[in-house]
Symmetry: C2
Subunit: 341 residues, 2 copies
Amino acid sequence: MKKTKLTLKDVAAQLGVSTATISNAFNRPDQLSQAKREEILSQCKKIGYSGPNKAAQILRKGTSNIVALVLADSIAYMVSDPVASTFIKGVSSALQEQGKHLLLYAGDSKSILDVVDFVDGFICYGAPRNNKLIDELAVSPKPVVTVDFDIDNKPSINIDNEDAAYQVASSALNEGDSVAILGLRLIDSPSTCRVYDSPLIGVESSISHRRLDGYMRAAKEKNVAISKERIWHLPESGRSFARQAAKEVLTSSPRPNVVLCMSDIIALELLHMALEMGINVPLDMKITGFDGIEEAERTRPRLTTVCQSSAEKGVQAAQALLNDMEEKTMLPFELREGETI
Amino acid sequence: MKKTKLTLKDVAAQLGVSTATISNAFNRPDQLSQAKREEILSQCKKIGYSGPNKAAQILRKGTSNIVALVLADSIAYMVSDPVASTFIKGVSSALQEQGKHLLLYAGDSKSILDVVDFVDGFICYGAPRNNKLIDELAVSPKPVVTVDFDIDNKPSINIDNEDAAYQVASSALNEGDSVAILGLRLIDSPSTCRVYDSPLIGVESSISHRRLDGYMRAAKEKNVAISKERIWHLPESGRSFARQAAKEVLTSSPRPNVVLCMSDIIALELLHMALEMGINVPLDMKITGFDGIEEAERTRPRLTTVCQSSAEKGVQAAQALLNDMEEKTMLPFELREGETI
DNA sequence: CTGTTAGCGCTTTCAG
DNA sequence: CTGAAAGCGCTAACAG
């Protein structure tokens, strides 16, 4: 009894039929009689052949049932971000429904080339930290769907970040306010800092700049001036960066009485720290977030923020990919009035 | 100018060398002169050949650089669990270091067969909900590493759950205490309920039962009786199940003055609810958790719990897989005394 | 150091 | 409905 892996050919020989018949029994039920098919399948099970080798199928058919999810940053970081993980959740449930598999791909990887040949497509969540990936995706022969950013001629899922930011800022701001903004990835710096006159990055494509635009439009309408030294840049939305930035804001002078935050994580960190310092929210300081994560609902006072359904985004992205959608989709968002403004 | 994808053969023809030379230029630098190699590589770049097709390489070489991470449950659930996502974090960072890719695989999938042919191995985090997968993994020709449970003859990463539970219970319990236990997956039920006399599941393999054993050993030593109607079963460690169970416990009579929880998520939910009800923790009720998640450190009063480094587990699991380790590894844990006992 | 060639295991025309 | 045969694109002996 040798244990060399059985091949379709072996099986065909053993059962005394041709290889095509075995192949058809597994892949194209309509190509042979019900009876014959069941006969073959049961024989296969008996002799321990569990079906055509997938690696060979991938080469031959050119499809693998694997979808790559390209994250903006390292997997390590993304998977612990509540917004990203909710998105992954949406993607994975939609994929699982269709029997597709999920390959997680870091946005700071060198290249996309070592998977492009065998995955069935890419879902790209946020502009990957390594810009080169964007160029590679742009010319990839495999379908691509982007989320929270765009690539020319590729379908995408977005919300209107400018408008969302405008709305949340509008409801928070009043003439005479002293405002600070806690922004995400506005400039090219690995650490928390004020923006000052650093050149803004990815101004066209980035959701952060759309949000900034929205804040500024609201500010202008309300006759509120916001100078660049009151705008902070955070390299990512992790708690430690948020804490740093929150501290800087809270100890800056004059202390702002409205702080617009580009993520709930940042806003919550600021909120907690402010409360600890005995600052009354919203009387002494108003705070707004962005995203609408669960924790923001549980926290007291409840955070005023913009809700976007990351899970829904994930589902839509997966469906767009699997159904070869061409259009760019704009998903709705919702202002959630909490108790922090 | 046709756009048919270039193959290695085409390139060889165009450059006037043999296919082996092209292949070697990409895969085995030692097989040809530095000069020739660079010549070839730069020519390839110029004509737009980005290297050997990966699908073909997978078939030919039998390796893909893809590692499947089999989760205990659906990806959707796992990715939002802080313990699991920290584990994923560890795995992914170790894999990324070695240029390996991460395929997330749901533990409630039908079978492992549709990836076994092309992945390089499996990391299996917790006993998959679908038991069939365990049998398939047990006979898989590809390397397997299990975490938080065992398969005969396969390497594994574990902590001593019995001892950890014993220690945390020991430090919480005193003679005369009225104790409740909030357990995980103790019986076969999709909803929160008391264990009573339902048959326990997976008694041998499950970490939950090891923890239960540890609690019981401590209880016995301290002369504390814990009846099965004071032991709750939660199907998973999500907040909503936790909330349900917490409510049942807090409204049960007599109300226990010590509650041992098998996860921090459960313990925190209980803690919050108890505080809201005006119960003094730890005076009126002591609470212990398990895992040592970040949130448990941030919460006041700080939770008393067992810390295990899920990230480290992930790293070790990945290394065990990549280095073909054979042994079963036992990782250390650490009791963290908070203010809830 | 380079070229030839036999597969890796399968799918899919195309005849029968 | 079945069988024979041509590749999918590549790698690794092996011979030169």
